[in-house]
Symmetry: C2
Subunit: 253 residues, 2 copies
C-alpha cells in the first residue's frame, strides 16, 4: 500500500517535520515518492522513482525547507504500472486556469473509465486513470471554477463511482482547498493554538510547534497512518470525503 | 530578454556543462529560471522565481546531474506578468496522453487569443497564453498524437499567427522531439563524433566531450546565444521552425 500525506494551512507552513516522519516509511514503499507544493496558483512538483529514503530529490526536499499552504505527498509501493517517473504520484493537470494535484492510495481492479475529454493518462496506473476521469467529469459538471461547496458536492457524487472498483483513498488539491477521500484508511489532525509538542512515531524526533507558530496559525494534516504519538488523530469513516480550507475542515453537511 | 536552452539527444545526456554556462547568464535574468527533463514519457520540472545564480533549486540541478534525452530550460527577465512561480517557464500541459513542455523568449504585445478549448493559463504571461493557444489548436488539428512531420507542418502554420504579435522565439518538447521557432535570435549546434573540447563563453570551464561520450552519441543544443567559444553555432533565420529528433535536425522541407 502506498501512503498519502496532505497539508492545508492558513499560512505558508514548513512541512519538514511531517515529511521527515513520512519519508522514513519509504523503506516499505520503495517505488518512488513525490511531493507537490503550491505557491499561490503555481505548483512545484518534486518526484522520483527512487525511494524517499535514498533519493537525491528527497534529500533536497529535506535540505531546502519550502513553506506552503497546500501540500500533497505520496510514497509508492507499486501495485499497478511500472516503476517510472511517469507513474509517480502526485499527478498534475490544469483545469479552468488552475493546477490540480492528485495522489491515490489503493488498488482499482479492472478500472477502465471512458476518457473522452481533455485528460488522458501519460503513464499506466489505475490512479492516473482515476484522476483523468475525475478531471473530465468536473469539467463537464461546471463551466468554470465553482465555489468549494459545489465542487465538494460534485466530488461526493463522483468518488463512489471509482471506489466501486477497489480502494480509493485520495488527496486532491487546487491550491485553495484540499479534498481527502477515504475508502479504507485515512486520518487527520488539526494543529491550532495552543500548540503543543509532538513526537514522530517513526523517528526519534520531537518538535515544539509553539516555538514555530503564531497563535493565528492553523494547519490540517491528513495522512494514511498517524505520524505522531502525542496528538489525537481522527480516523475517516469509509466513504467519507472531507475538504479543508485555511487549515480546518469545512462542515458542509 | 529571457534566454532559452533546449537539448535533444539520441541517448540520455548530462546537461550540466550547458546548464552551467546558461545559468551564469542569470544575473541579467533574475526573475526566475526553470528546467524540464524528460525521463521517457515522464517529465521532471524544476522551477524557481529566484535567479538561477542564487536559487537553491538551481544549486540542486548543478549538484545532482540528471541525464535526459530531452531538456528545455529558461531564464527569465520579466516583461509581462509578475515574478511568481505560476509565471515561471517552462510550462507543462498534457495532450493526447503526453506531456508537452514550452518556454518562450520574446514579448507579445496585446496578445489575447480566444481560448475556448481545454487549455487555460494559470499565470498572467503572454507566453503561457501563447502555449495554451498552440495546445488548443494542435488538439483541434489532430485527433491523437500525429507523426512528427505532421505536427511540424501544423506548428509551421500556427507559429506565424502568434509571431504577428511580437517576438516569438520558443522551444516545445514532448519527450520525442524538440521544436524550436525563431523570431529574432536562436542558434543551434549538433555535437557528434568526432567529439572535441569546448570552452564556455561565460565561465572559465572547458569540457572534453570525447571523454564523456561514445562514438554513437549525438546531441543537438538550441540556445538564444552561443554557449561556447570553440564550436560552430548556426543561427536560425527569422521565422524558421526546426525540429530535432534523436539528436539532429530533421529535414522536412
Amino acid at each position: 500500500m502506498c501512503q498519502l500525506l496532505g497539508m492545508n494551512a492558513n499560512t505558508p507552513t514548513d512541512v519538514m517535520f511531517s515529511f521527515t516522519g513520512f519519508a522514513s516509511r519509504a523503506q516499505e514503499h520503495k517505488d518512488g515518492f513525490g511531493i507537490a507544493f503550491f505557491e499561490d496558483a503555481g505548483v512545484r512538483l518534486m518526484v522520483d522513482a527512487q525511494s524517499a529514503r535514498t533519493s537525491p530529490v528527497a534529500e533536497m526536499v529535506r535540505r531546502f525547507p519550502i513553506r506552503s499552504s497546500n501540500i500533497v505527498a505520496h510514497i509508492r509501493k507499486a501495485t499497478q504500472g511500472r516503476v517510472t517517473l511517469a507513474n509517480t504520484h502526485p499527478f498534475v493537470r490544469e483545469l479552468w486556469g488552475r493546477y490540480w494535484v492528485f495522489a491515490h492510495n489503493g488498488d482499482l481492479k479492472g478500472y477502465a473509465p471512458r476518457l473522452h475529454g481533455a485528460f488522458r493518462p501519460v503513464g499506466d496506473t489505475d490512479s492516473e486513470r482515476a484522476f483523468c476521469w475525475l478531471m473530465q467529469e468536473l469539467a463537464k459538471a461546471h463551466a468554470s471554477v465553482p465555489p468549494i461547496a459545489e465542487l465538494t458536492a460534485t466530488l461526493r457524487e463522483l468518488a463512489p463511482t471509482v471506489a466501486a472498483h477497489g480502494s480509493f483513498n485520495f488527496l486532491l488539491d487546487n491550491g485553495q482547498a484540499l479534498w481527502a477521500h477515504c475508502s479504507t484508511r485515512l486520518h487527520h489532525v488539526v494543529r491550532r493554538h495552543p500548540f503543543t509538542r509532538a513526537s514522530l512515531h517513526d523517528d526519534d524526533v520531537t518538535v515544539d510547534f509553539a516555538a514555530h507558530t503564531t497563535p493565528q496559525d492553523r494547519v490540517a494534516v491528513v495522512v494514511t497512518e498517524p505520524l505522531t504519538k502525542d496528538e489525537t488523530w481522527t480516523p475517516f469513516a469509509p466513504g467519507e470525503l472531507r475538504v479543508y480550507v485555511d487549515g480546518e475542515p469545512l462542515d458542509l453537511r
